[in-house]
């Protein structure tokens, strides 16, 4: 058996000390290249579970938003911007009418 010296590791207790310079920059700059997924939501419809199960092909589900109402742009379930629904190169598009607020 080899001679291995084993010692106990002891963690010394930190005492409270006065604050110094901030270590992590509190700026979105550090995450500006992180990609996020925005979802466009046209509106909601509230029906009963029974009605939901009764939906068939060609059923029309009317939403709670007027035809010209702005579309919500959601980030992680929260509305972060609104805009007008447009068509861009055969794709749906949103022209921003309410920009993300800085908070």
């Amino acid at each position: 058996m080899s001679e291995t010296k084993v010692e106990n590791l002891e963690l010394s207790e930190f005492a409270d000390e006065a604050g110094g310079a901030v270590v992590a920059r509190q700026s979105l700059d550090v995450v500006k290249d992180v990609s996020v997924q925005l979802t466009a939501v046209l509106g909601k419809s509230t029906l009963s579970v029974g009605e939901m199960f009764g939906l068939q092909e060609n059923s029309v589900v009317t939403l709670d938003t007027l035809t010209d109402a702005p579309v919500d742009l959601l980030l992680d379930g929260k509305v972060v911007a609104r805009g007008r629904l447009v068509i861009v190169d055969e794709h749906f598009g949103v022209q921003i009418t309410e920009a993300p607020s800085a908070d």
Partner: protein, 269 residues
């Protein structure tokens, strides 16, 4: 027929298992113990009819070891999945069998006198519980009174809960027993399921109509200004999804209008 604890038996299969058990075991126990009473321990129900003589053990002394710590009740269904499977086949709903205490234990009573004798012996094994006296004859009404909950399936098989003080045991009853003593309550059970179903159907379901989104970086997102145009991933000829708050797509269809509001006509495309 091979018997597995992990499948649901139809009523005819239950009856076939019962008949096989009854034929094989009643003869066997009459021959050895002079009674039609059976209290059996199964290590594993797989291939049950084939292993009967060798594997099954009868507690054949005058005071059977019903359910003490060392010996199990006759273990017909060794785990919760199998128990739920039996519940479903008998009651049409899982969770009818007990959850506490005697895990995976069932008394299997194939004849009325056998069920009564089981109760007598249980009374002996738990003397503090003021259960039937040894040798006392139990009428259908008395046995029925000890059953806290029971139901009978179409084949005549019954599943009951037997209450002994703090102890509750599931009791599987053969057709001959359940016909005489089980207070049949399948209609009440179905009624409860039906009202649960009605309550679910009336629940509001909120669906959002969503377009596929677009990915952009946080930097681009911060730079968004009024008037900017975001092109979404979704083409105008692609369907709009109706999604639950949990994000599940329940239907999709074409975006349009109805009475001045946005609307979705459901369809395949």
């Amino acid at each position: 027929m091979a018997v597995s604890p992990f499948r649901i038996y139809s009523a005819p299969e239950c009856a076939a298992i019962a008949a096989a058990l009854e034929n094989a075991l009643c003869r066997w126990s009459r021959r050895w113990f002079g009674t039609g009473k059976l209290v059996l321990e199964f290590d594993n129900i797989n291939g049950l009819p084939g292993v009967l003589p060798g594997q099954l053990q009868a507690f054949g002394s005058d005071l059977p070891h019903y359910g003490d710590a060392e010996s199990q009740w006759c273990t017909l269904l060794p785990d919760a999945a199998a128990r739920d499977a039996l519940d479903r086949s008998l009651l049409g709903t899982p969770g009818g069998a007990q959850r506490d205490g005697e895990e995976g234990s069932f008394l299997l009573a194939l004849q009325a006198d056998m069920a009564a004798q089981c109760l007598v012996d249980i009374g002996r094994a738990f003397p503090g519980e003021a259960q039937p006296r040894a040798g006392q004859e139990l009428g259908a009404a008395q046995v029925g009174g000890m059953l806290r909950r029971a139901a009978v399936c179409g084949s005549g098989w019954g599943l009951a809960r037997l209450r002994l003080g703090a102890l509750e045991l599931p009791l599987l009853l053969g057709p001959a027993v359940s016909a005489g003593i089980v207070p049949a309550k399948p209609l009440r059970l179905l009624g409860a399921l039906d009202s649960a179903r009605q309550a679910i159907i009336r629940q509001p379901a909120s669906l959002s109509a969503a377009l596929g989104g677009t990915a952009l970086t946080i930097g681009e997102f911060e730079g968004l200004r009024v008037g900017d145009i975001l092109r979404l991933d979704q083409r105008v000829d692609e369907a709009v999804s109706l999604v639950t708050p949990g994000g599940e797509v329940v239907a999709s269809g074409q975006l349009g209008a109805r009475e001045g509001r946005k609307a979705v006509r459901l369809g395949e495309e």
